[in-house]
Amino acid sequence: MSDALRYEWVRIRTLRSTWWLTGLSLLASGALGLTALGGDGPMTTRDYAYGLVGGPVAIFVLLMSVLLGMIGVFSLGHEYRYQTMRPTLGAIPRRSTLMSAKVLVVVLYVGLVGLVCLVARYVVMLIILGNKLTDLGLFPHQLGRIWFGALVYPIVFALTGLALAGLFRSVPTAIVFTIVMPVIVEGIVKALLNIGDISILKNIGKLLPFTAGTQIMRYTGDTDFNASEYPSPWVGGLIFAVFMGILLSLCWVLFEKRDA
């Protein structure tokens, strides 16, 4: 396993895309929507939560997830796109070992970069807000969960990208799926399911994986927030994780069974 991890580490760090995706994520962490926090009023937990993740729809974490998710897509997708799968299996013939190393390196790399991005964002908020932020403490009401969710969501997103790249054996298809599904398809489906106010359809709408997943970093104390439309934060996170788990398992099984 350590041999395969060595391969994956050299693979990921010798790709330019790894570095520009990492750079863009870091750039987004300091630049996206934070200037709106500089108001005169008192700082609330809600402001802190929205500042950290990028508003009620967690736009910053979503953008970071899409960027870092590409690292997951490329992890397996590049092997097919550039026909390097055979040389790779010539160096690491046990497929499960290779797949384990890919998953582990994506989890560690995306997790680490995600943490750095969140910390960077917090530091930028600290520079803008100073004592108003520190007075709230690091993990006030719901913020522990939100920090955790903002860290885990990009990891699950990247693993979903890896699984899709393995299932489709195509980088473009996996990229389109990982961007179009959360940004466009789920929004349309949710809107359609809400027509007519039929509760069973609304409940199905709660299962849309990418949308459900964002609930784990949702601040639920907002007066505008309609809890009946969404699963609870932990259940939402679980739905997304299970969705990723199913895709990854399917990808893993096919990776073992298919010809390279």
């Binding site: 060595r6 391969y7 010798t14 590049h78 055979r86 010539g90 298919r258 010809d259 390279a260």
Partner: protein
Amino acid sequence: MVKVVDQVSPWGANVIEARGLGKSFGRHKAVDNLSFTVQPGVVTGFLGPNGAGKSTTMRLMLDLDHGDGTTTFDGKKFRDIPRPMKVVGVLLEAKAFHPTRTARNHLRMLAAPNQIPDKRVDEVLELVGLTSVADKKPKGFSLGMGQRLGLAAALLGNPDIIMLDEPANGLDPQGIQWLRDLLKAYAQQGKTVFASSHLLNEMALLADHLVVIGKGALLADMPIDQFVAQSSHTSVVVRTPHYERLHQLLAARGVHVTEEPYGRLSLTGIEQEAVGDLAFAEGMVVHELTTRTATLEEAFLEATSGAQEFQGGSLGGAA
């Protein structure tokens, strides 16, 4: 606890043994119960017409494709070899690299899991003549340069066995000669070289032994000299003023005789010495007596006639 004992090959070290290889795509049998042994110390050529199943066989041998049968390298299945690049070097496709990862980094990436030092990366880059472009992105590499990078990867672990699928593809004449010398020198060191090629003239100069397949089945597994000698295109040519009498005598002995221009007879089914002895015994003057050896191409075309997956038509037929 089960103790795993490596299977010891009766052929000695560095032997490739393929047994009962099979692979079907739907109802089409791409590889059909194929068994052969590749010995060390010689270059073994792997020949077959287009679509004969050469590449599929190589992928099956390396567990890259799923199918029937087993292949062992020095007694071990490929997937059971720890750090396999130190035992088996493989080239299956030219240009199998990421276009923006430098040649040096591509090799370092493959070297890392096999614990091959970076120094060896520089050595193989020099060996294949790519030192000057080692830090360049290979997206601009020609087919020949890509092939050289693939060869560098195959040689990276200084393995005792190398398997190469069409290694001469894209190489210029100098490159082909370099490759031939390299592979021959490799075999002379007691290592095992198994290479496919569709360049028959090249294979005739390179290989000592041949494995020939057609429609996925084994057609020949023998030394190249024997393969060529058994071709019907190998004949004895004799020129004599008494050719009509000699023709009758030879035909009576069951020799296949073909008359050629300038009083020559082409004979198959008899050795050159026997023709000389017969002419001498009958008091016939002989002006020419030679063995005309078939080319590898002739022998190959004869062996694979009827085993071609794809056959072209002729322009004349369209008229």
